[in-house]
């Protein structure tokens, strides 16, 4: 498995619409030619706005960027009910209140999405030394398979 980032990730322009209890953003879906809608709970956004942490609240911007331009997408989390959930990995350049700067060296930003495209978690994790586009323990069995990787579109072989 070899991945390389060959250029600047395209700036994203996610749109938001109000749906029942959720904000909607557009993003990439493996094996789908057009962008699709993802959902973020309004309740969660309001909770973060009310209590913080501030960096998690503004992390929604980084999450939206990763959903638009991921470096890899894993499928299947090893727990009940999450067998078809996806994990997007990327190095966003949007930070805090929209500041543009390179991603944190040695870290990847992960976005977790249910099979029904509900975005429920976004966070930094240490990157793999051998594959800096992927989380450090990507090959530990935490994911069922690598569903898609930058430069290897439609790849769906099992994670080594």
């Amino acid at each position: 498995l070899q991945l390389t980032l060959t250029g600047f990730a395209p700036y994203f322009s996610s749109t938001v619409s109000n749906q029942k209890g959720h904000e909607t953003i557009m993003g990439f879906w493996p094996d789908c030619e057009s962008k699709v809608e993802f959902y973020v709970s309004k309740d969660k956004i309001e909770h973060l706005e009310r209590c913080g942490p501030e960096h998690v609240f503004y992390g929604i911007l980084s999450a939206a960027e990763v959903l638009n331009a991921p470096l890899a997408v894993f499928e299947g989390l090893q727990r009940e009910g999450q067998g078809q959930s996806l994990c997007y990995s990327g190095r966003p350049q949007q930070h805090r209140q929209g500041a543009v700067m390179p991603g944190r060296p040695g870290y990847v930003f992960l976005v977790f999405v249910t099979a029904k495209r509900l975005v429920y978690e976004w966070r930094w994790e240490k990157a793999s030394v051998g594959n800096p586009d992927l989380p450090a323990d990507y090959d530990s069995g935490r994911f069922s398979k690598l569903r898609w990787a930058y430069g290897n579109a439609n790849r769906s072989d099992s994670t080594p």
């Binding site: 322009s13 996610s14 749109t15 938001v16 619409s17 029942k20 209890g21 904000e23 953003i25 959902y39 709970s41 309740d43 969660k44 909770h47 973060l48 706005e49 009310r50 209590c51 913080g52 942490p53 501030e54 960096h55 998690v56 609240f57 503004y58 929604i60 911007l61 939206a64 090893q78 727990r79 009940e80 009910g81 999450q82 959930s85 949007q94 209140q97 929209g98 870290y107 992960l110 977790f112 249910t114 029904k116 509900l118 429920y120 978690e121 966070r123 930094w124 994790e125 240490k126 323990d137 935490r142």
Partner: protein, 143 residues
């Protein structure tokens, strides 16, 4: 149509306070004890801890499999519905089954949950943190 950037940038989080949030769709409970920027580190399949970028201090965590933990609690004769309860039980219950190396993490989190008076109410949806509204019907996100 308003962009996500505009929506988020027009809002400003208020002052930080320790809190927890339950996501029914993911059956995951997230705790934030401190506002430091953090990275996540998986302890086991049920627990991910948040460690401060600068100091590696424990500043939060995510606990998965809440419904199962509640069932275990009921099996121990501790079933309580519609009353706020201390949430340190989640760490004690999961910690009992954790590996030797993971146990200290669970113990530290139980202490933090107690220190910050993290409480929640068990309901048909799973668990509602005290102060968090009853989650709306899962609708098409339901498992």
């Amino acid at each position: 149509m308003e962009t996500l950037i505009e929506v988020i940038q027009h809002r400003k989080p208020t002052r930080f306070r320790p809190s927890h949030y339950y996501c029914a769709e993911a059956d995951a409970l997230t705790f934030y004890f401190r506002q430091d920027e953090f990275y996540a580190s998986r302890v086991d399949d049920l627990l991910t801890v948040y460690l401060a970028m600068d100091t590696n201090d424990l500043v939060g965590c995510q606990v998965k499999g809440i419904r199962d933990a509640i069932q275990k609690r009921g099996a121990l004769g501790l079933q309580i519905e519609n009353e706020d309860v201390d949430l340190d039980f989640l760490f004690f219950l999961n910690g009992m089954c954790a590996s030797v190396t993971a146990k200290p993490r669970y113990l530290a989190l139980a202490k933090l949950a107690l220190k910050h008076n993290m409480r929640g109410r068990i309901s048909g949806h799973g668990l509602i943190p005290a102060g968090q509204c009853e989650p709306p019907s899962l609708g098409h996100f339901g498992q």
